[in-house]
Each structure stands twice: as C-alpha cells, then as structure tokens.
C-alpha cells in the first residue's frame, strides 16, 4: 500500500512513519509533507492509497487539504490525525470519517489501514464534515487537466461569474473555480465585496471609481486593465463601505 504522511511536526511524522513500517514493512511511505499544500501536491504526484492528514498545519489546514484531494478526484483514502480538535471529531463521527488521535496507537493505526484497503471515502462526507469547520481559506485551488493551480487569496483581484463558471483573476492570470459566487462571498467577506450580480472585488485592490458617459459607474483595480461595472443596486453599498473603511 502506498501511504502519505502529512504533519507540520517532524517528530510526529517520524513516529507515524515508524508505526506504519511496523504495521507492514512492504508499505511504500512518503513522510515529508509538512503543510497542507505539500500534502496536496504530493497526493497528486504519488497518488497514494491512503493519506494520514494532520488537521492543524500551516498554509492549508488538513480539512481544506482533504477537500481539495477529494475535488482532484484522486483515489486516495483520507484518515485525519489530530492531537485535540473537539469540533472536528464531532463532525467526523457524524459523517463516518476515520480519524486517529495523537499519540497514535499501533492497533488503531492498523484498523485504519485495514479499513482504507477495503473502502473508499465518500466525497460528500468529506465535503460535508470539513466545510462547516474550515476557516476562510488562504489559498484557492483550481483543478484542471493540466494539474493544480494555487492562488493566494490576497492576490486575487476579483471573482466573476460567467454563465456556469466562476473565474478568479490575479494580475497575471485567471482560473476557473468550482465554487459559486454566493459561497465565495460568504466565505471571503469583508475582504471581498460584491459590486455586481456577477462580480466580487478585493477591497484592498480598489484603485478608483469612474463614471462612464452613459452614467454607469466602473471600478478600476490596481494592476488590472479591465474595468468592472458596478451595478446601480450595489453602488450605494460600495460607497458606504469605502467611507467606513476610510474612517
């Protein structure tokens, strides 16, 4: 079995690796992911059968990582590992997700590995359990046929909904996301503000507001040539927001 271990503490990875080896010396083990993003990249690269995922990790926590792994449609079974996360454990229990408590007991680990060999995760269960617990993400991941693109949330200038898809645009590129504009608005308020039925903008990137000859208002963002239309409905709210911000 191919097993990936992700934890931000080197000694925790070391111990888990030793326990997995003791469980069965034939396992192929990757045990050097020290944050969620590394774990996700290594999962895509090595396609492990099982990932032992610590919950509290820098850059991307274990919950978001699990979500991205299941979005990448990998055949990887996820088992969470945690020292103490009361609310996460409740959510895992409710959604029948497997987890291990630190310090991990060899017998429990053996059970988890055995279970992983037999069953696969239900993506909805992961989605369901982790969404309610995750804090606003620091990175957004776009899974495409070319692979994984990761955007820092701070670098995103605006989200725009176009027909079915929502795109996120930075100064250098633009990617398609699976999230809905509504969900993004909920997650990233107040950093992002809605200026139109189809657009959210990064409030830190707002440069100026222009009035067009037709009386419409348009927004200019730092480092972006595209002008975004502000709808009449959101115009007043935006003005109020900017005034409050300047106070």
């Amino acid at each position: 079995m191919k097993i990936l271990i992700a934890d931000d503490e080197p000694l925790a990875r070391q111990r888990l690796k030793r326990l997995v080896e003791e469980n069965n010396p034939h396992h192929i083990i990757h045990a050097d992911a020290s944050n969620g993003l590394e774990a996700l990249n290594q999962c895509i690269e090595f396609q492990p059968d099982l990932v032992l995922l610590d919950i509290r990790m820098p850059i991307m926590d274990g919950l978001q990582t699990a979500n991205e792994i299941s979005k990448a449609k990998l055949n990887t079974r996820i088992v969470f590992v945690t020292a103490y996360d009361k609310y996460a454990l409740e959510a895992f229990e409710k959604n029948a997700l497997d987890y291990l408590l630190k310090p991990v007991k060899p017998t429990r680990l053996a059970q988890a590995i055995e279970k992983a060999a037999q069953f696969n995760n239900r993506p909805q269960a992961i989605e369901h359990a982790t969404r309610s617990l995750s804090q606003p993400r620091q990175q957004l991941c776009a899974h495409t046929h070319k692979g994984l693109t990761v955007l820092n949330i701070q670098d995103i200038l605006f989200f725009k909904a176009d027909n079915k898809y929502v795109s996120a645009t930075t100064t250098s590129h633009s990617v398609l996301l699976e999230d809905s504009l509504k969900a993004l608005e909920k997650e990233f308020t107040p950093l992002f503000f809605r200026i139109h039925r189809n657009a959210l903008v990064n409030t830190k990137a707002i440069q100026s507001i222009h009035k067009t000859s037709s009386g419409q208002f348009e927004l200019k963002l730092k480092g972006c040539d595209e002008l975004l239309t502000i709808s009449r409905r959101h115009q007043a709210e935006l003005n109020r927001f900017l005034r409050q911000k300047n106070e």
């Binding site: 931000d8 503490e9 000694l11 020290s34 850059i59 103490y84 630190k102």
Partner: protein, 351 residues
C-alpha cells in the same frame, strides 16, 4: 473552549416588561409618595388625602415610564450607559411634565393638584425638581448595581478562563506525541522533556502562590520553550535577553508563560517557515519592562486562530490584582511583527 459563547452582560436598565420589576417600581413610587405626604401634610392633618393624590400621580408617571422603557428596552440597552441614563432621565421628567399638565390643565375639575396662588409655573417647577432629584438617585443606584454585577461577572469569567487556559489540550497531546516519538529515537531527550512537561503541569496546578520570583517563572518558560523547540524544530528560533531583569522581581505565577505560549501558538505554529520569538527585558526606575515579539502570520485574518484574547485577559486580570493601577499589558502590531509588553513595578519582598 474556543467556541465558548459569552452570555450577554446584565443590562443597565432592568427589564420593565417583567411584572416583578414593575412591582418594584410601584413600591419605590409609593415610598416617594409617603415621603412627600409626610413632609407636606402629616402635621396639617390631611395626610391620607395627600398620600393618595401623590401616590396616584407618581404611579401614573412611573407606569408611563415603565411602558416606554419596556417598549424601547432593546434600543436603550444598545446605547452607552451615559446616553441611556440621559434618555431615561429625560423620559421620566417629560412624563412628569405631561402628567402635571394633564392633571392641572386637562382635568382641572377633578382638582387632583392644588394649584398654588403663584400660578402653574411653580407647580411645574416643583414637580420637575422632585422627579429630577429622585430619578437621579434611582439611576445612580441602578448604575452602581450594574457596575457591581459586571465586575462580579468579569471576576467569575476570569477564574473560569484561568482554569481553562492553564494548558491547551492541543499542546499537551502534541507534547506527549513528541515524547512518544523520542522514546525510541532519543530516549534521554524524551526523559528530559517528560520532566519539563511535569514541571509545567506542577506549576499550573499550584495556584495557591500569589507571587513568585521572576527567576522561577523564567525557568518555567525555558522548560516550556524546550518542549516547543523539539516539537517545532527549525521553525522556532528563540531569542532571550533578560540579563538585566532582577531574578528576585516578584511576579504572579504563570503571568509571562501564557503570553509566550500565545506567541508560539499564533505567531510561529501557523506559519510554514516559522520565525523568531524574542523575549527581552529591562528594569528602569524600579519598573520592569518585558517585551515579547513574534512574527504576524501572513493570512487574510490577522488572528485566524481562536481563543486569542483569553490568555491575555487572564494575565491582565491577575496582574491588576497583584499590582493595582501599576501594571500594564500592552499589545501592538507593526507591519510584520506582533508585540506584547508587560510592565510592572519591581518588588522583591512579599507584602
């Protein structure tokens, strides 16, 4: 622990939609009526007539105010205490004026108020004078009660926090995990970390001591940081410079350690590359200054990890108890750095 919801503080204005509070108000109004009747009519002999007229008048005013306060209780409790007091004072006086007008001008036939020969103006002045003085006393009483309740509640909460903030369970289990890992690869280190962890727990359970020498707190911090250093490895760089802080300066136990733990938890642990945790100190004019610096973790919300203020409030409360008005706990952030400063007077003998 993190998602513990705080109940709303007791409002300044008692809920006058509740029968019990209206009854209290009626009783207080009757006491005022008796006072006024005793003063004006007891000797003259028409005490009972005067009492019943006064009582009727004051009850009208009281119930009008109760109705208004009941209707607007949410708005009143939302504004500041000063503004609430002012609006309550105004309401009481305006209803007094209104009732005076009703009884003297609208219903003169009932002859409820004896209009003095000097005219209605003095009648209004007298009534407003009495109601102002009485309502100021009443508001003052409410304010003192409000403050007292707030303080009792804050003390109870601080004690609860003190119990809960002792050691983060997350830290405990991760430390045990570190030790479990080291028992095979480095048994001597595992042994010494077990000792450090025990010391940390012992200090946390020993709550009876009010003040300890700074050296003792520093030893504890060294042991704590030793555990964290082994957990976090190269991500944690520690910079200590406390050579000028006197070893015998007295400090409440576990007043600095939770702040250091906070710095590690919020500043080092959430970042992939880690950073420098610095603890420096100096003594100046018999005052000790301790400064903790840690990097601000670079994410969208400055303190995405919950429970940030608990340790700080707890330490602040206990410093204030030991050094009333002489200690300070200052928090500031500049750019990429978060700073926590603890300032307290230098004492070296137990009071």
């Amino acid at each position: 622990m993190d998602k513990r919801s705080l109940t709303d503080p007791t409002p300044f204005l008692p809920d006058l939609c509740r029968a019990k509070n209206v009854l209290y108000l009626a009783l207080v109004s009757q006491l005022l009526a008796i006072l006024l009747a005793l003063n004006t009519s007891f000797i003259a002999g028409d005490f009972w007539i005067s009492l019943s007229l006064n009582a009727l008048f004051i009850l009208w005013v009281a119930f009008t105010c109760a109705g208004i306060f009941c209707l607007f209780k949410q708005q009143i409790n939302r504004i500041s205490t000063a503004l609430a007091s002012l609006s309550m004072l105004l309401t009481i006086n305006l209803s007094t004026l209104l009732m005076t007008w009703v009884t003297s001008s609208l219903l003169p036939a009932l002859d409820l108020l004896i209009v003095p020969p000097s005219g209605q103006i003095s009648l209004y002045l007298r009534n407003v004078g009495i109601s102002s003085i009485f309502s100021i006393i009443l508001l003052r009483f409410l304010y003192i009660q409000f403050q007292w309740q707030k303080q009792t509640k804050a003390e109870a909460e601080a004690q609860l926090d003190a119990l809960q903030a002792l050691i983060r369970p997350h830290f405990l289990f991760n430390s045990l995990n570190t030790i479990a890992s080291l028992t095979r690869s480095n048994p001597p280190l595992a042994e010494s970390l077990t000792e450090d962890l025990s010391e940390l727990f012992r200090a946390n359970m020993q709550t009876s001591k009010r003040l300890i020498p700074f050296k003792q707190e520093l030893d504890l911090i060294r042991q704590y940081l030793n555990i964290e250093q082994n957990r976090l490895g190269s991500r944690l760089t520690i910079h200590l410079d406390l050579s000028t802080v006197p070893d015998d300066a007295l400090i409440p136990p576990l007043s600095l350690q939770p702040l250091i733990e906070n710095a590690v938890y919020h500043g080092i642990e959430p970042t992939a590359e880690g950073g420098v945790l610095s603890l420096t100190g100096k003594i100046q004019k018999n005052t000790v200054y301790l400064l903790i610096k840690n990097p601000i973790c670079n994410d969208s919300t400055p303190h995405s990890r919950p429970g940030n203020n608990m340790a700080i409030n707890n330490v602040r409360f206990r410093m204030e108890q030991c050094f009333p008005d002489q200690s300070k706990l200052l928090i500031s952030s500049s750019g990429l750095e978060f700073q926590t400063q603890l300032v307290f007077p230098y004492h070296n003998n137990q009071p």
